[in-house]
Amino acid sequence: MHNPILEVQDVSKSFGGVQAVQDVSFSLVPGSITSMIGPNGAGKSTLVNCLAGLYAPTRGRVFFEGNEVTGSPAHKIARYGMARTFQLEEPFPYLTVLQNAMVGCHTKSKAGMFASSLKLPWMTREERRIADQAMANLAVLGLAQHAYDLPLNLPLGERKLVGIARTLGMQPKLLILDEPVGGLATHEAHKVVEVIRALVSQGLTIFIIEHNMPFVMSVSQRVIALEQGRKIADGTPEEVQKNEDVILAYLGKDEDA
């Protein structure tokens, strides 16, 4: 058994009187694909925001590679190697796809205002290196031909891939995908599955938030179910699919019968 790459201990988050997440605990094994399911409003995105540093949890602790990151700001957590995509946020719409991917290399480069304003030679070299790296990351996702397009001109499926491509520049250890196939056509979703498998084979750990059950069941090794902010199931896809609480949460109580 490896040490977990991410360990979540009793994390809760409330907004005013609303308990969005309540005492959720789980840990992720390096190199695994884990999915989190749950109906709308179950607290999935809130939980991800707590992990990635956009929200500070009200209670509980988060450890990344054994180090506590609870309440650290998002940009610091990103530096540790935790990357995420967004459910609704698109790639930066007014930067080209290549520039999007280059922003992804932010943590792996260091030119600041001074070096950039004077175009120091090492900065120009670094810039070329980032551009090459970003281009390679785009190629991995089959986006090279769109490098100079604006994301707002791309179809949804490719915009989602740009969202993944820009995180690759960070060379993350853990990648959290917030609804990676939400709203995608079947062939686009297949492309995302391929990408996820390829990334895991390179040693990445993947944590997916998703509604699309066939996708979740086909790609995940482990599924966690959330309902009204609480964890109600945790196990293999088969186990979770048979779990009565999960069925109840998804289909509701059959009152007519």
Partner: protein, 331 residues
Amino acid sequence: MNSRQKMKPHIGMLIIAALLLVLPLIVPNAYVISIMVLVAIFGVLALGIGVLFVYAGLFTLVQPVFLGLGAYTAAILSLRGVPPVISILAGGFLVAIVALMIGAPVLRLRGFALILSSFAILLAANIAFTQLEITGAANGLQNIPLLSLGSLTVKGDVQYYYLSWAFCVACLLICTNIINSRPGRAIQAARDSEMGAASLGVNVAIYQLEIFVITSVMAGFAGGIYCFYLRVVSPALYSYDLLISLVLMTIVGGIGRVWAPLLGCFVIMWLDELMKAYLGKILPVMTGNVTNILFGIIIIVLMIFAPQGLVGLLDEAKRYFRSVFRSGESA
């Protein structure tokens, strides 16, 4: 982006640079040169506003304060015997500190809160400039010594023309380089989505503060040059009239190029001068009002027909001529 596309604007830039370089020789007219000095000085401010508005998405309205702070500091110090160059540098340094102090709290705000709070600072600074004894109150400061370094003295419109344009072009290069590199990308990413940028490791607050301070210091140095050029400073020069002109220049210049506000500055300054010169003959009584009304009409027309500003118009013209050329070649 192939090499040809990359080279083209550079050729246009070289032509403009050459024109700027020889302008005092072709047009040895003190009036024209003096307006061009002001174009360069206000151009630096417009550039800064363009970077903040368009690239950083930060609608801060304090730029004239930093021009004023730079000018007053340089004036006050040089009147007390500090060498002029050192007093300009001191002005820039003071502006950097004040910009940090203003920026750290104010840049946490967004939207209307940012616009209004920065405007409040502009009004407060204007009251300070008009009331304080050290700034000469409403009279401002006069008899500012000549700008000199050792035995070198800058005087006359032509010398100030070269000084101010050298500074302006330096600021343009600095802004362009920043926008086209790592920190500039980070700033633009944060403009589009702060959460997205932060999740990629961008420390949004620091970058926004840095670009705010850099553009402010540019304005501060411009103020130093301005005060030695005019040899007076008066509070009316650094207030909302200037702010409105600067915003106008930025809008007219358009979005898509770092230098767009500079073009806007050139056009607005000369339009203003032309209207002053010719409208006075037609409508001698109400020149000022008519100028303002005409500027208003220009903005409305531009916003309707060219929301991308003059830069957008230039791009469209380029596309049009290219298509004309193509059809000419094929025929």
